[in-house]
């Protein structure tokens, strides 16, 4: 490191981090959740992860060759995209789906815009959105992959067996009780009660869901490591999760205001995965202090609105994608004043 005598413009900050170092560290932080997924959902989860990664790296290498760019497919960013994509699909999807999803994520989500650093949206989430819009039946059915040890007791028979799915259909029944039999209404109420009683399973990951989103504890271990290494900040994840918690406490209940269960909303779905690993993506999130706060709050609000009144039970991925698109504006609005610079009206 003693021969770095570059003459360059400001900022004259030198960090010992490189793209591969950061990327591989994030991949490492995601490994515990992956091991958890393989434990809960079996070797199929491993296959999906491997296929997604291979497809992502191969797509990037191929396109860089075609575009006559220098080959950087091994800098870890493609691996991370593939890994995150695999974490965002149901464990029962056909094996060609992660391959197609990774191809789309890299080709359309990243290379079309010019490669790493130029992508306006998180490529892995774009790949997930593509898969969800193209093959919604595969992406939204979780019954074929029951986690080891069974799912949350008593509600196994629902075909869409993620906790948020159950909550959504139960709340749908409770909102229009006259359209259903009293028995169905009672069952819906019981289902919600059971969900709120199984927060420990949600925390450990013994629930239906996408491959890498279920185990909160394993995701948090990785996130803590990344925070210790200062690769992710606290602003986006904490404002994101905090907003979801606040809104779900106020508006999330079925018996009026302030009856929701914020802990349930934090632990279920892809909130932890999204808030710590995808909303914090360096390329697609704001760089300013206030920008990051607004970004996290915006993500949280969109997530909750989709969960509560949208057509899908889960809204983390769409909320991040939408806020990604706002990132350039947020950065512009929250640009700090230049020290010693003039005020606007002078």
């Amino acid at each position: 490191m003693d021969k770095k005598y570059f003459v360059s413009s400001s900022p004259h900050v030198f960090a010992n981090d490189s793209i591969p170092k950061i990327m591989y560290t994030v991949v490492l932080a995601l490994v515990p959740a992956g091991i958890g997924a393989i434990y809960y959902f079996g070797p199929r989860a491993l296959w999906i992860i491997l296929i997604a990664i291979v497809s992502a790296v191969a797509t990037e290498a191929l396109l860089q060759k075609l575009m006559k760019r220098s080959l950087t497919a091994w800098d870890g960013s493609a691996i991370l995209t593939g890994l995150l994509l695999a974490y965002n699909v149901a464990p029962s999807v056909p094996l060609w789906m992660p391959a197609v999803g990774s191809f789309f994520a890299i080709a359309v989500g990243k290379m079309v815009f010019g490669g790493l650093g130029y992508n306006p949206m998180n490529p892995a989430l774009l790949g997930r959105a593509f898969l969800l819009a193209s093959w919604p039946t595969h992406m939204t059915i979780f019954t074929d992959a029951v986690p080891r040890g069974g799912t949350v007791s008593g509600i196994d028979m629902m075909t869409n067996a993620t906790p948020l799915n159950v909550l959504k259909s139960a709340q749908g029944i409770l909102a229009n009780p006259q359209q259903f039999t009293p028995e169905q209404t009672r069952e819906a109420g019981e289902a919600i009660g059971k969900l709120y009683d199984s927060l420990d399973k949600l925390f450990m990951g013994q629930i239906g869901g996408c491959i890498g989103e279920t185990s909160v504890i394993l995701l948090l271990i990785g996130a803590a490591y990344l925070m210790y290494k200062r690769y992710i900040g606290w602003k986006v994840p904490f404002t994101f999760i905090g907003t979801v918690a606040l809104l779900s406490w106020i508006f999330g209940g079925t018996e009026g205001l302030f009856t929701g269960n914020p802990i349930f909303h934090i632990l279920s779905g892809g909130l932890i995965l999204g808030a710590f690993y995808m909303a914090t993506d360096m390329v697609t999130s704001p760089v300013t202090f206030r920008g990051r706060l607004y970004f996290g709050i915006g993500c949280g609000m969109i997530t909750f609105v989709i969960r509560r009144i949208g057509g899908y039970p889960e809204g983390v991925s769409y909320s991040i994608l939408l806020m990604n698109l706002l990132t350039p504006l947020l950065d512009r609005w929250t640009r700090p004043k230049v020290f010693g610079g003039r005020k606007k009206n002078e």
């Binding site: 056909p94 593509f130 819009a133 193209s134 093959w135 919604p136």
Partner: protein, 198 residues
């Protein structure tokens, strides 16, 4: 200015969709199947042909100050004719194209040709130009419609082409698929142009 050139320019050189990027709204909206692409293309071609004819006919008596309202009245008349005729004779197609037929009125290809061509050229050339541009628009719609229906439904003109094991890429027949397809097709044509320029 040869007649042949006036006819063929609409297909590639000045293709309304791929080269002039005009009329993108109907292009995006109705290119989800070959059938609706054909219907929309035929309707727009008819309107374009008729409006070019009438406008070039009256171009000498139309004062410059009120030419736009007059063009729009002429175009709207023909669009209404197409709409009524379609409802009467092709009800199924009328149902699928729905709101997009009345919207041909504001399709910028038609007003664009009236303003840029029919208002300045004689009747014969204007008809040739309208036909060429209309067919060029139809071809563009057909290309997009074929790509989207093939990928998004595994069929062409409603007839299944791919085996039943193929799981259609639904997004292609949804609105985002329209943007993806037109983006890549436009990119492809620009790439061709750049290569030719070299």
């Amino acid at each position: 200015m040869s007649v042949v050139h006036e006819f063929t320019k609409g297909f590639y050189k000045q293709n309304p969709v791929f080269k002039q990027a005009l009329g993108l709204c109907p292009t995006l909206a109705v290119s989800n199947s070959v059938e609706s692409a054909l219907g929309m293309g035929a309707a727009a071609t008819f309107v374009l042909l008729c409006s070019n004819f009438i406008i070039s006919l009256i171009r000498k008596i139309v004062p410059a100050k009120i030419r736009i309202p007059i063009y729009i009245v002429v175009i709207a008349t023909f669009v209404t004719i197409v709409d009524l005729a379609m409802a009467g004779f092709l009800p199924a197609l009328h149902k699928t194209l729905g709101i997009f037929v009345p919207l041909i009125v504001v399709n910028c290809i038609i007003l664009g040709r009236a303003e840029a061509y029919a208002g300045k050229n004689n009747v014969g050339l204007s008809i040739v130009d309208g036909l060429g541009m209309g067919l060029g628009f139809t071809c563009a719609l057909l290309l997009l419609g074929a790509i989207r229906e093939f990928l998004g439904n595994g069929s062409l003109l409603g007839i299944p082409i791919l085996s039943a094991n193929f799981e259609p890429v639904l997004i292609m027949i949804l609105p985002p698929g329209a943007f993806l397809t037109i983006g890549f097709v436009l990119g492809f044509f620009n790439w061709l142009e750049n290569r030719r320029a070299k």
